[in-house]
Assembly symmetry: C2
Homo-oligomer: 362 residues x 2
């Protein structure tokens, strides 16, 4: 397998033998291009079952991937729920971290740097701990206290700053020699981890669903699915890509706004994991939605709260941000964007166990 | 498959066609005896993969079982960590709840009743929610606030009482017509769920390990393993039962004390999930330890804290009670009860995500 970085904007191409997270020529996000992709399933049960299509050595595992896919009825319609919140640190981010941190370790990195509103920081901190490398995590000070506690407990250095944007800027500026900026919103290795969700859905179902509905902020899961499904298409293992429906939170609807115009509402108070203003890969996100014949939606906090309660009352212990996908599905049903007979997967991305201190309020 | 209740003490036997949780003749715990046990693996990936040996219809699933088994080095020795904390509600209890609540639903029960210091209550509440039956959970008021919040959020009725013992007594007294007392420490159906861990270890490893080290309070996991390994032995699928090592917390060392005499120390402050004074199945627990050539150990809070930190610093987000198993393993190594070349599985039973509000203190 030979792997290249290719700039998503200017086309600059270079062999992926060192750590890059954006184009050295124009500063835009990089993609990874893999020569000679071939799928051979390994006997392992987690994400590394798909090792043959992941361009990194399987150096670290905390048990990520192979999350349950369960059936549930909503409004009389049967859907699949993909329980990504049962990943090792409680979010789908572990797919990206397992691959990105493994690759960083392979390249001899001594410390990783990340900015995050919580889940990505926890995930990178845990995988850095497993890898035996240092982690420095920049978070906005209004991130949930529990998430910040956990990042520290995992042995990472936690740096609190004023805002999500400042976290990003300061993380990038701080990166020194021997250190790697993970930056999940930028990082092309991270997407090589999240793409395994597409492979796993095919593995679990035996085919691909008609539609996938998922929460979207920086787009790492959306783009992972897009990459994965397209690889499967090119490998001749599927004959169509499922429609991808991106569900966003009020106040952080950049993708929706790019596609449908302004959506004025105050920033979400509930969906803290979806607070991203300027996703660097927005062009690619728009493309994935359009090319898959999907759509972008925005959900209000009132709608989200109903879905969160509804999922908890069915035994699914998810974080509020994840519930937004169910709200999105309900809206897509009522707008006839998804037909009642179509097979749909709703991705539940993050664990509610990180929120039990605030659950008394609902 | 024909299934019988048999009293562990007086031998009273009756077909298991209604809900019983203790012997109607002498009040002691009941076992389930299965006629014609035969193992056929199903295509499903979770606990119900072992449906053929579970005497209950697979009515409910939240994605329990099939938890990761990962390798890690401690003191230069390689062990397997079985990540039971990645079960749907964050503890191994989900194996028991999935089976017991499925069976209760099959028998037409309208509400389930449980007493718990936290994890079992969360688990039963979630499975009752999934089953669409009511749940009433009695907990001691000193149980962690977050765990109590979560039980309420899952739609259960939470009743706080003075102590763990009072929770038990009041739960039992409260059970009315059409209601089933789950009582995981008593319930024989619950053990039919936890026994799947033995089947799963064989399935994942291809053989059984030399030793299994696990936290023990009411003994539901210990006895599940004992039942499961013995069934596998009787089925001719393995030729020995692994040595079972039960690790207990200071102040709640009933099993250790039965085997080795008094152990005087103040009750644990850290291992809240292990606070059980009088496990009803203590005789069976002693038998499982002795017959398997294992042992019981007690770990102090100081030792436990070290192991908890050590596991967190390796990326394993577990609750303090679970870390006790690693402390136990260290002690067994240093006492030469486990040889450095022996294959050992350490069971990590509960999720640390339920504790992120207190993590700032460590």
């Amino acid at each position: 397998m030979r792997v290249w970085y290719r700039c998503s904007r200017c086309g600059y191409t270079v062999e992926a033998s060192s750590w890059l997270w954006r184009c050295p020529r124009c500063g835009n996000p990089l993609d990874l291009v893999i020569d000679g992709l071939k799928l051979t399933l390994s006997e392992r049960r987690g994400l590394w079952r798909f090792s043959s299509v992941i361009p990194a050595k399987p150096l670290i595992s905390l048990g990520e991937g192979f999350t349950p896919l369960v059936n549930a009825d909503f409004l009389g319609r049967n859907v699949y729920l993909k329980l990504e919140y049962l990943n090792p640190t409680g979010s789908f981010k572990d797919r990206g971290s397992a691959v990105a941190v493994s690759r960083a370790l392979e390249l001899g990195v001594k410390a990783v740097v990340e900015d995050s509103s919580g889940n990505a920081g926890i995930s990178v901190a845990a995988y850095a701990a497993a890898a035996g490398v240092k982690a420095r995590i920049y978070v906005p000070k209004d991130a949930p206290e529990g998430k910040k506690n956990l990042i520290r407990s995992l042995g990472a250095e936690l740096i609190e700053v004023q805002s999500r944007d400042e976290a990003s800027r300061m993380a990038i500026e701080s990166v020194g020699p021997g250190e790697a900026y993970i930056g999940h919103a930028w990082n092309p290795w991270f997407l090589q981890g999240t793409k395994t969700l597409a492979y796993e859905l095919l593995d679990q179902l035996g085919h691909v669903p008609d539609a996938v509905v998922l929460p979207v902020s920086a787009g790492t899961l959306l783009l992972g699915l897009w990459i994965g499904f397209n690889e499967l298409l090119n490998l001749g293992l599927i004959n169509r890509v499922p429609r991808l429906y991106a569900v966003q939170a009020q106040g952080f609807a950049s993708l929706y706004e790019r596609m449908h115009g302004n959506y004025i509402r105050e920033p979400t108070k509930l969906a803290d994991a979806l607070r991203v203003y300027n996703p660097p890969r927005i062009e690619q996100m728009v493309n994935a939605i359009r090319e898959s014949n999907g759509d972008a939606l925005v959900i209000t906090d009132d709608e989200l709260l109903q879905s969160w309660k509804s999922l908890l009352r069915r035994g699914f212990i998810i974080e509020p941000s994840s519930a937004i996908a169910l709200s999105g599905y309900m809206k897509l049903l009522s707008n006839n964007h998804i037909d009642k007979d179509e097979e749909t997967v709703i991705v539940l991305t993050g664990s509610g166990l990180k929120y039990i201190d605030i659950m008394s309020k609902i």
